[in-house]
């Protein structure tokens, strides 16, 4: 080993999570081990366990990091847009955009999705994330409803519908989106969503 760094926890932990994320993208869930992450980072495997105690903690830490990125990356922009109509348009444009769908590497995203079926902690984190997004939309939809920008009877169901469609888009991109770019179909899905939101359908 060239040089020993002797950093502290504050610096090492995120560095390890970054490495974990990279290896995850390259090797997938099953191909990722503590040894491989260590090799990727040029450190000893035991050091990872020193900081995260076990693999499950490591995984949860990464998921928490991903979710915080997911939360912060896009939505902050919306708060300082005064005009509700303008904010609504941007919100919908964002949610149905390619950039939004790639906030986290889709392979990694799906991998953790899958693990949520067997790992209660993972499942809870994802549930919180989706509820957070749903509730944000809810709260916004109340405003848009009041302003006459949309017409929905049940804001919670409407928000659920948008999230559902948004997640379905990931599937579409993976399996049915071969012959057209993501944005092309996403735009049509968005238009359909708008029809539903403006029709007292939900």
């Amino acid at each position: 080993m060239a040089g020993r760094k002797n950093q502290n926890a504050e610096l090492r932990k995120p560095e390890i999570l970054e490495g974990y994320y990279s290896v995850l993208i390259e090797e997938g869930l099953e191909g990722t081990s503590i040894s491989k992450i260590a090799k990727h980072l040029g450190i000893h495997p035991s050091l990872i366990l020193h900081y995260f105690k076990n693999k499950d903690n490591l995984r949860l830490a990464l998921i928490e990091l991903m979710i915080s990125k997911y939360k912060s990356k896009h939505l902050i922009e919306f708060d300082h847009i005064e005009d509700p109509a303008e904010r609504f348009t941007l919100l919908m444009d964002t949610i149905f955009s390619y950039k939004w769908s790639r906030t986290v590497d889709p392979g990694v995203h799906f991998g953790f999705y899958y693990q949520s079926f067997r790992n209660k902690n993972v499942s809870e984190l994802f549930r919180e994330m989706f509820c957070w997004l749903r509730d944000y939309l809810c709260q916004q939809f109340v405003i848009y409803n009041r302003e006459g920008i949309i017409q929905v009877n049940d804001v919670k169901t409407a928000a659920d519908f948008i999230v559902t469609l948004m997640e379905g888009l990931e599937f579409h991109a993976q399996f049915l989106g071969q012959d057209q770019p993501f944005d092309s179909f996403a735009e049509k899905a968005k238009k359909s969503a708008l029809v539903v939101l403006k029709n007292h359908t939900l």
Copy 2:
């Protein structure tokens, strides 16, 4: 070992796949090994490799079996319904039903979804399955359009939209459907889909 069965490939292979499926449900993708499947079936691990050569073949065989179940289980019913309007209603009811969503154990379903990101063969099988469903819907939508049951401009996009929404429902059930039964939200999603299909939206 109690009794040796001495069956032949015709009987053994599906038996092994059934065992594989069971272990997969109980233990998940990462917890499933050839040894465990063998133990579950009361046979020797080598026998599994004798029939399927390696683990990847085993996996592909199971996926193919699942897909054929998926294809055959529901859609056959539709063909002998003469009245298009009646067939359309039943088709939509089926696609947005709990029963349909549970054709395959959702944990296993998601697991293979995930693997499609890294395994070209898996990805191709899933793509074929979704395209098959999409194309079936396409072909039906042409008829319904002609009969005035729906009003869509682009049947392919409309079919894509329905599949997208259908897949999104799986997510919803997993993460946002805690406080209501599947059918409750699925019904609302279906109503929204109907609005889109009857509005020249797509």
